[in-house]
Amino acid sequence: MKNLDVVIIGAGIVGCACARELSLAGLRVGVVEGKSPGCGATAAGMGHLVVMDDSPAQLALTHYSRSVWSELMAELPGSVEYEACGTIWVAADEEEMAEVHNKSRICAAAGVQASVLGPAELSKAEPHLRGGLAGGLLVPDDGVVYPPAAADFFLQEAVQAGAELLQGSEAVFASQGMVRLANGTKLTAGRILLAAGADCSLLPGLPIRRRKGHLLITDRYPGFVNHQLVELGYLKSAHSTESDSVAFNVQPRRTGQLLIGSSRQFDNDDSRAETKIVGQMLERALAYMPGLGQLSGLRLWTGFRAATPDKLPLIGPAGALTGEVADPSLWLVAGFEGLGITNAPGAARLLADQMLSRTSVIDPQPFLPNRFAAQEAVYA
């Protein structure tokens, strides 16, 4: 096979977005996908494009990446089902309402449009929410996509720009500019970009843990829910806890279907749906929106997020994470936890900026893999 500039391992939404970015910049790109493009976490995710403010770095990346999404909006084919439905962070009580105001100030400072809703405005915006809620925060520019189609869009654009897809055989070895596939194919490239999601088998030392999630999809009920609805407690519970947690999170899809989530479990490698946590997740959803109980549920599934200790992704040269002998050819774009759909196009830009020595719009420092080099021993 001809010489490549970059071999990307993994055609999830992140690998595909990078393939597009790098190919459009003129690099010769090969994409290796063991199974089928978009079949990993990308197929399991909700596709909520959301600005999150867990940390300043996360706020910067999600905000930036969301702006890349809206840049792309005009080009996205119908299959991507981009919908600028906005997010409403739902506050159950006065304590959470204080959070709403706090969040609103953070948004204002960052230039993210947001408006506070009182109880009446909230129930007008979402009549199926239960009564007695304190209010919410509407972030109107958040949106929703159908992730596998978005990944496919990125991939097709990359292929049109000259990228090559090698599908059906996984990479079993990747080091010093050489990638070997299970079927024996060898690829050489100046750089290898690991975009394998939560799969760390090629580089077991990565500071990534699998975090399982469940989702349920319903039949079609157009207009039942108008915005992506997330309970405000989610910010604190879902992202900071070590133990199993659930939160109310409902998404309207263009088809009229609803996605109901969400759950988070560490150290659970069983890909089957689990009754107990599903029951808790749905109980939580029904507590916010009792009418969901009568809707027809079609399918339950699970997916694995790739979680890092500081909840920020790894974007850049693998550096010291590659082990005792540094491997300058290895690059990483992984560890996106529950935000890989939102962050894929933004992360792809940051990565291309580094590979091409361009200046980035936001500071890439917080995402450099080397930040974990000192602690590497802990995860090895």
Partner: protein, 443 residues
């Protein structure tokens, strides 16, 4: 939660035989079916119009009486939709209209515990897409038969029965008994493929007799072998079926009709077995000579282990019932082996001809739930890819209907079975046993 030594899922002939045998052996048995009464497909309640079927009628009544006398408990009108843990099933009556529902009209879900489980979930019809197959007025033969038994009037209607399998003749005879005019029966399998099967029937005289009775009941309607539909035709407005185009590969002609009943033999219902983790081989649930699956304490009988018809279902069901109760099954093994041979010949006789794979046109729908056309699927590399990019098989039927077609058309095998097995109200997935844990860490 109710607890049973043996739960039998599916009250067709296999399930009835299993529940009867297990209960008569002293086990505490629950027989469960989504239909309001036992009988399954062939013994579905309804009038039988065939004089020649009185013998079949007698067999059914005898089996039902033995079942009632056996001491087994029943739960009818409930569908099993999940197997959340080892030894546990969830079932629901969505209409809320079953005898066991506490509030009339409200969906009712229950948890059931078992020590031994017998799956007797039967089969469904296989549909292959051809232009017009989604028109109103085009049914599956078994589906139409069930509708008629339920009161749908076919008197004086001109009906073409087409597709494949022994069901065609049975249904045609049945429709005629209800006053329909059967225009013709078109079986896709050619004579040469059917002959070895017909000859093998000499070892199953009862089956020959039944075939002859069905054929006789067809009257003068022609029975074409090696003949299949290429398109169902509608009037200009596109709403009303006017006829169906048939071909024998050399000649294509149109038969005017009011209804078409078209289905290509049967597809085993293996979803519950898959969900439980039972090994599936060539699309069939793998069982040993006592109907044990690869999962401990789970048995399977009837069509999911191989499309073999009534007699196979009865003997396998009885074996499973006895084995689940630890009783010997030796005396039944000869019949089991003979029926297995029959099932294999059946499969060979009604093998799908390759021409049927190219009937769909680019705009022909393959997945009716999500409106996915043949053209959209043709580009995909496999089931996963097709699902992700076209949503084929992701609608309310979860691929029940289109998966068999996709396997025939493209060779794609259905991959994952996820709960719920059929659409259920979201509230039915909130199991009452769940305890709230750590809902919000900040509290």
């Amino acid at each position: 939660m109710s607890h049973y030594e043996v739960i039998v899922v599916g009250a067709g002939p296999a399930g009835i035989a299993a529940a009867t045998a297990a209960a008569r052996s002293g086990s505490r048995v629950l027989l469960l079916d989504e239909n309001p009464a036992p009988g399954g497909q062939i013994w579905r309640v309804g009038r039988s119009m065939l004089k020649g079927q009185s013998e079949g009628e007698a067999a059914k009544n005898h089996a039902l009486k033995r079942l009632r006398d056996s001491g087994a408990s029943f739960l009818f009108g409930y569908s099993v939709y999940d197997a959340p843990a080892a030894g546990e099933l969830r079932a629901i009556c969505e209409s809320g209209e079953a005898a066991d529902c506490p509030v009339w009209g409200e969906p009712h879900a229950v948890s059931l515990r078992y020590e031994k489980l017998i799956l007797a979930t039967g089969a469904r019809e296989r549909f292959l897409p051809f232009p017009g197959w989604t028109l109103p007025g085009v049914f599956g033969p078994g589906g139409l038969q069930a509708l008629v038994k339920g009161g749908f009037d076919v008197k004086g209607k001109r009906i073409v029965v087409a597709g494949s399998g022994p069901l065609l003749l049975a249904v045609a005879a049945h429709l005629r008994g209800y006053g329909a005019e059967v225009v013709c029966v078109a079986e896709q399998a050619p004579l040469a493929q059917m002959l070895p099967f017909a000859i093998s029937l000499w070892s199953h005289p009862a089956k020959i007799l039944q075939g002859i009775q069905y054929r006789a009941a067809l009257g003068s309607a022609p029975f074409h072998l090696g003949c299949w539909p290429v398109a169902a035709l509608a009037d200009i407005a596109g709403g009303k079926l006017t006829g169906v185009q048939l071909t024998d590969g050399r000649r294509t002609w149109t038969e005017d009709c009011d209804l078409v009943a078209c289905g290509y033999h049967l597809v085993p219902n293996t979803e519950l077995a898959s969900l439980l983790g039972c090994a599936i081989e060539h699309g069939l649930v793998k069982v040993d000579e006592e109907q044990r699956t690869s999962v401990a304490h789970v048995y399977c009988a009837g069509e999911p282990t191989g499309i073999g018809g009534l007699d196979a279902a009865l003997v396998q069901g009885e074996i499973a019932g006895l084995a689940s109760a630890g009783k010997p099954t030796r005396s039944l093994q000869g019949r089991r082996v003979a029926e297995r041979k029959f099932a294999r010949r059946l499969e060979a006789a009604f093998r799908i001809r390759p021409e049927l794979r190219s009937l769909a046109q680019p705009d022909t729908l393959v997945c009716r739930c999500e409106d996915v056309t043949y053209a959209a699927l043709e580009k995909r590399s496999g089931w996963t890819d097709a699902k992700l990019q076209t949503r084929c098989g992701m609608g309310p039927c979860q691929g029940r209907i289109c998966s068999a077609a996709l396997e025939t058309l493209f060779g794609w095998k259905q991959i994952s079975v996820r709960p719920p097995l059929m659409p259920v109200p979201v509230s039915a997935l909130v199991y009452s046993e769940s305890q709230p844990v750590n809902l919000k860490e900040n509290q």
